[in-house]
Amino acid sequence: MMHFQLFFKRDIKQVFFNPRLLILPLGFFTVSFFLLHFTVSLNTINEQETALYWVIFILSTTGVLGQNIALDYDGGFLQSLQSEKKSLHFYIISKALSLMVGWTFSFWVFFMSLQILQNEITPHLALQSFIIIASLSGALSFLYCLFDALFLRAKRSPLLSLILLVPFILPLLILSLLSLEQKELMSLVPVSGYALFLSLGSFFLTQKALNHT
C-alpha cells in the first residue's frame, strides 16, 4: 500500500503539473469542442451522441496511459521496478487511477456542460466551464513553477514558465470576447483552441529537444 501511495503521488504530480501533459487535456477539450460544433447541433444531444464522447474519453485515456507507461519504460523506471521483484499491479492501478482522475475531472465538466445545454440553458456555460478549467490548470502549473523557483530554488526554464502563462491568459482573452454573438464565438473557440494546442505542443517539443542536446 505504501508503494501505491508513492506511485500515486508521483503520477498525480505528472498528470497535473507536467506541462507537457497539460497539453493533452487542453487538446482534448478543443478537439471535443471542434467535434461538437461541426457534427452535432447543440440543442439536440441524445444518448448516442453523448456515448460518442465517452468513447473518445476512454480511448484518449487509454492512449495517454500507454504513452505514460512507454515513457517510464524508455526512462528505465519500469525496469528498475521489475528488478526489485515487486508486483507491478500497484504501479498500473496508480497510473490508471491518476489519469482517470485527471481526465475525468476535465471531461466531467465538459460533459456536464453538454447536459446543461441539453436543458436549453445558455450555451455560454459550456464555454465558461472550459475557461474555468483552462484557467485553473494554467494557474496551478504557473504557481507550481513559481513556488519551485521561489522556495525550492529549482532552476526550471523561464521560457517554460512564460509558456505556462499562455493558458492562464488566453481564457481571460476569451472572456473578453464573450460580448460577441454566440455563433461567432463558438466558431472562434475550436479554431483558436486548436491553434493554441498546436503552438504549445511545438513549443514543448522544442523545449524537450533543447533539454536533451
Binding site: M2, H3, L6, R10, K13, Q14, N18, P19, G75, G76, F77, L78, Q79, S80, L81, Q82, S83, E84, K85, D148, L152, R153, A154, K155, R156, N211, H212
Partner: protein
C-alpha cells in the same frame, strides 16, 4: 565466507543464439568482480538476466537477495528535481534517513534542487549511483558505473565499493574502465556452429 552469487555453466541466449561461453563464477562476501568483454558480448544481458529482467539463460544460478541492479539508465523523472527523484527511491526502500548522507557522499547537495534533465551526464550518473547509498543490499550488479564520471567521482565510487565490501557485500561490475580489482572475468563469444549467423545468399 558465505556465497553471495554463484553461477554454474551459466550463459545467456537471445533468439536461440548463445551470447557468451558458459561461465562459472562464485562471488563471496567481500569480493567484487570486474566483468570484461567487447561490445555486444553480453555483459548487460548477463546483468539483466541476474536481475530478473530477462529470462533467457542456461545453467544454474544462486543469487542472494536482496540485490541492487544499477543499469545505465537512471530511473528518474526528467522534469523532477534530483531531490524529488532520490526521495522517491529513498521512500520506496524505506531508507529516507540515508538521503542526506547519500547526497553528501556523492557531492550532490548543491545540485539537489535542479531538475534532473538539467544535469550533465556525469552528474546524472552520480545521481544514479547515489541510489547505492540508499538501499542496503549485499549484492551490487552494476552496468558501466564509471561511464561519464570524472576522476574525483570515480574515486568516490571506489570508496563506496570498498566500504560495501568491508561490510560483507559483493559486486559484479560490467565495465570497460579498469577498477584495479583483483578478480576479473572476461566474457568470450563462443565459436560454435550454433552461434553463427546466416546472412543469406544472393543467387
Amino acid at each position: 565466507m558465505s556465497d553471495i552469487l554463484e553461477l554454474c555453466n551459466f550463459s545467456t541466449h537471445r533468439n536461440g543464439i548463445i551470447l557468451f561461453e558458459p561461465l562459472s563464477l562464485t562471488i563471496e562476501a567481500g569480493q567484487a568482480y570486474e566483468l570484461r568483454g567487447g561490445n555486444g558480448v553480453g555483459k548487460t544481458s548477463l546483468l539483466e538476466t541476474l536481475s530478473g529482467l530477462y529470462k533467457g539463460f542456461k545453467g544454474k544460478v544462486f543469487l542472494h537477495k536482496p540485490y541492487l541492479y544499477i543499469s545505465r539508465r537512471a530511473p528518474f523523472t526528467q522534469d523532477e528535481t534530483l531531490l524529488e527523484n532520490l526521495s522517491f527511491w529513498a521512500s520506496f526502500w524505506k531508507s529516507s534517513e540515508n538521503l542526506s548522507k547519500a547526497l553528501a557522499t556523492w557531492d550532490l547537495k548543491s545540485l539537489s534542487r535542479l531538475p534532473y534533465n538539467h544535469l550533465s551526464q556525469g552528474q546524472q550518473q552520480r545521481a544514479n549511483l547515489a541510489r547505492l547509498s540508499l538501499k542496503s543490499a549485499p549484492l551490487w550488479l552494476l552496468d558501466e558505473p564509471t561511464a561519464a564520471l570524472d576522476r574525483q567521482s570515480i574515486a568516490t565510487f571506489k570508496n563506496a565499493l570498498t566500504d560495501h565490501l568491508k561490510q560483507g557485500g559483493g559486486a559484479l561490475i560490467a565495465t570497460h574502465y579498469s577498477l584495479d580489482l583483483t578478480q576479473q572475468i572476461t566474457l568470450k563469444v563462443p565459436k560454435t556452429e550454433s552461434n553463427a549467423f546466416t546472412l543469406g545468399s544472393v543467387t
